[in-house]
């Protein structure tokens, strides 16, 4: 797995540690863009990032933990869409279904703007032979098995990632 050939393509090594909708985007965007540039890409999914390897993605987003998140409506006239709705924490924490409303609003906004879905980006990555590696230790901790993930997922540990990253031109922890 080590990169001994000096003419080998550039390599990107990512750690995806978060599984919310907002944080699911950066690893798949960078991985697919690097793949499009002919780079070799490996993404190591650990902790909550592991959920991004499940066949059906259920990533959601909570504005409660993201105080700087703009709260905007994806419909209506432009002036209305540009209003930033100031939601009190009390409302976000206590109103049932608030998180699913926020998740749907974000998904709709992304769709309106022409951003690909997480599923589409992940499919792109699979097509471009991006290596998707699940962290064995956190799989054990959270009770995931290899068969819980998409068939393209590999399993590895810290040493697997480090060896891959040691020869990478770009390494990022997300």
């Amino acid at each position: 797995m080590s990169k001994s050939d000096p003419n080998a393509p550039k390599r990107l090594a990512l750690i995806a540690s978060k599984g919310t909708l907002d944080w699911a985007y950066p690893p798949f965007i960078l991985a697919s863009a690097a793949g499009a540039m002919g780079w070799e890409v490996g993404v190591f999914f650990t902790f909550y990032g592991l959920t991004l390897l499940k066949p059906k993605l259920t990533a959601s987003v909570s504005p409660l933990g993201n105080p700087a998140m703009p709260m905007k409506m994806p419909f209506g006239p432009e002036e209305f869409q540009n209003i930033n709705w100031n939601m009190p924490n009390l409302l976000m924490a206590n109103v049932p279904g608030f998180e699913s409303v926020a998740t749907n609003l974000m998904k709709q906004t992304f769709k309106n703007k022409g951003v690909a879905t997480i599923e589409e980006l992940r499919d792109m990555c699979v097509e471009m032979d991006v290596r998707l590696i699940g962290c064995q230790m956190t799989m054990d901790v959270f009770g995931f098995k290899k068969q819980d993930f998409i068939p393209q997922a590999e399993i590895g540990g810290a040493a697997t990632f480090l060896e891959y990253a040691a020869d990478a031109d770009v390494q990022l922890f997300i």
């Binding site: 965007i29 697919s32 499009a36 002919g38 690909a116 589409e120």
Partner: protein, 81 residues
């Protein structure tokens, strides 16, 4: 720079409405279908497309022959290496 009128594309790709990274991913996929020396014309509306396609061209060695911006649209001509 070449005069944009004289460049004849072999293939046209319309990335209007697509945002990062899809415009670059689609560009890359379309270029894979071309033979060496053939030219792809891309139309994009992604405001980050020009710097991105310049970086893509440097990274992949495919030549960026010409690029222009007009009415919120970007038109580039890429030649397969």
């Amino acid at each position: 720079m070449n005069n944009i009128e004289v460049i004849r594309e072999d293939q046209l790709l319309d990335c209007s409405g697509l945002l990062c990274p899809m415009s670059i991913v689609k560009t890359s996929n379309a270029m894979k279908e071309l033979g060496s020396g053939q030219i792809l014309k891309v139309i994009a509306t992604d405001a980050g497309y020009l710097p991105d396609v310049e970086a893509w061209s440097r990274q992949t060695g495919n030549l960026l022959l010409n690029s222009m911006a007009e009415d919120g649209k970007f038109v580039v001509f890429l030649q397969k290496s």
